[in-house]
Amino acid sequence: MPNIVIDGQKIETAAGKTVIEAAYENGMQITHFCWHPELSISGNCRMCLVEIGMPKRMPDGSIQNDNEGNPVISYFPKLQIACATTIAEGMHINTKKDNVVKAQEAVMEFLLINHPLDCPICDEAGQCKLQEYGYKYSKGESRFEEEKVHAPKHQSWGPTIVFDAERCIKCSRCIRFGQEVAKQDVLTFVNRGDHVKIELFEGTQFDNPYSMNVIDICPVGALTSKDFRFKSRVWDMSFNDSICPGCARGCNIKIGVRNNEILRIEPRTNPYVNKYWMCDYGRLSQYKFVNEDRVTEPMIRWKDELIPCSWDEAYAKAEESLKKFMPEEIMFIGSGRTANEGNYILSKFAMEVIKSENIDLFSDIDESFKDDFLKVSDKKPNCRGAVEVGIIPEKNGVKVQNLHDKMRFKNIKAIYIITDQIVQFRPILDEIDDLELLIVHAYNLTSLTKKADIVFAASTYAEIEGTYVNVDKRVQHLTPALVTAENLRFMGMKMSRLDKFGASNDRWTQHKLRNTLPHWKILTKLAEQFNVKWNYKSAKDVFKEITEKIPSFAGMTYEKLDEYQGLTLGKAEQPDPKVINYESHVMKPN
């Protein structure tokens, strides 16, 4: 393993690494625009120029030392780019010396010559790498008095992306992403010098399923999202860590929220799951159902109509209705969209309170959705976890495959379901009208919710704390991003700026807080109606019990899950090694 010295700090790293890699893996930042750990090296931004030297050698090959016994370093006459220089034994690297700083300032000045500096109208402002470096590594003034090069500002690159050629600094990250990660090679440089620009091949669009990742890796605001464009400034938003519920891959995400509304979803780095990427489907489809058309309070059916009621009324009604049936006439249906905590309590409720053995869940396997990168065929984020915590029929229990028949022959008269979507199971949906009792934990007013007798308003993935188990059996922690009446106090300073400091007479706080509860809380309160007392104060308590009762979860805690970015089922004691996650730039809000 070669020993190198960066800014006087001795480092030992694996051979074959580049200088910039060795630096960031040891917690040091070397300024750069075009380099990205997952993409090939192009070395065209020149921002990572550093001074590199090797120990001077005597004619016999031994290292020449000075009077104090330190090796004499002979530096290369010109600065080298750290992203394309491989480390060698004894290499000395200076990133903060005067000539390096001068080179950085010069490169910044060059990059800013043709950059329009329209930060006030640019979506990237506030999380822009060029802006950040502009403050940190630039003189802050330009000697360029001539007219800037103008280029088209609003080019559509496909269904999701807008390209602003003026803002582009030609780092080629998007070109390389298209070639290497998304495998859609449609972008290229054309022309030379200050007329160089990135263009799509004629008649093509940048429309691959992972296209929107270029928005995140673009160091400037040249690529912006059509979906998000101008919705909010980033500094007005809060970003909380969560897990994408789009499929069983469980990509790590950050949920961007302002005014208690999800405005966008962006990937969070997890080297063991999704690296730096996520699919457009997850980004675009997983927030609208949280924002719109929500069930905001519990409801009871009264003469063909669902009437809003208080939680206590709903619990009392549910208890009264459930007691009319024999335990084996009630079917409990868990959900692959719900966190383990909710499913575990449902299973416990069915077994201990109702004593029914009929517990199962609907899976949603779509082979056409699958690809060889991130997307998997299981379109529910937590089916494996649900099965693991007990959403599986006991030996005499009814399975969902038989449910249709059992309903027809009136063996099952009541269904308690903690999801609101079984659209793909049409026959069951038709039979549901004949059910005597249907209790739904609902997020949205779906066709299933509308048929329910009792509706409990449930919190979505963006409003709860919990855990998902992904397709590779990795348990991952999700934290709430939105405020409900229930988690208001927990959220506290995690809310966006305006939400935090809004008063009751501010317009932006006028939206009503949703009176929803997490599944485990609804079921715990309902169990209380049956005179069964469970002492869960938070999702943490439920997870603690899961780790005690279910061996594969043993040894896990929320803190440990955060620390190691998820743990594999049954392997809590052998976590994946911790690595320093590469952050393209650090001056992001939150």
């Binding site: 109208i121 609003h154 101008f230 400034r233 007005d236 007479n505 501010d506 317009r507 932006w508």
Partner: protein, 164 residues
Amino acid sequence: MNITKNTENDRMNFWEKIYLPEIARGMGLTLKQVFKPKFTRQYPEEVWNPEGSYRGRPVLVKEEGERCVACGLCSRVCPALAIEVQASETEKDKERYPVKFEINMLRCIFCGFCEEVCPEEAIVMSKDYHLVFQSQEEAILGKDKLEVPIAKLQDRLEFLRQYR
């Protein structure tokens, strides 16, 4: 410590005790003021027109189009969180415009930071100090009430240019 003792010398004499000379002196002063020029303004009949440097109600400058590009810097810098901006996209050159721009005048503290930070010189402090509201809702001014033609704001814009 300096404690005044109630000695014979400190006590008031007869003339001082009856106060009459002092009252006469006071009345004399009052009489003198009657003949001096008056400073009182008969507000609201007589309205005061402040200088360009006066920081009244913040307003949006209205030219042919609107200057504001909804960058949100005023909202960010506002120490009292009085400003709420929602941007949207337009076909025009500037790409961006405020679809909603609201200033809560109950929150505004007239510090002028919004004006100082504005990159487009779109929000300026006007001379308007007649701020009367009959409800909290009324105090939240939307774009319709905030936009003021540029001709009315010349004094302020000139003042700003002097110090830029």
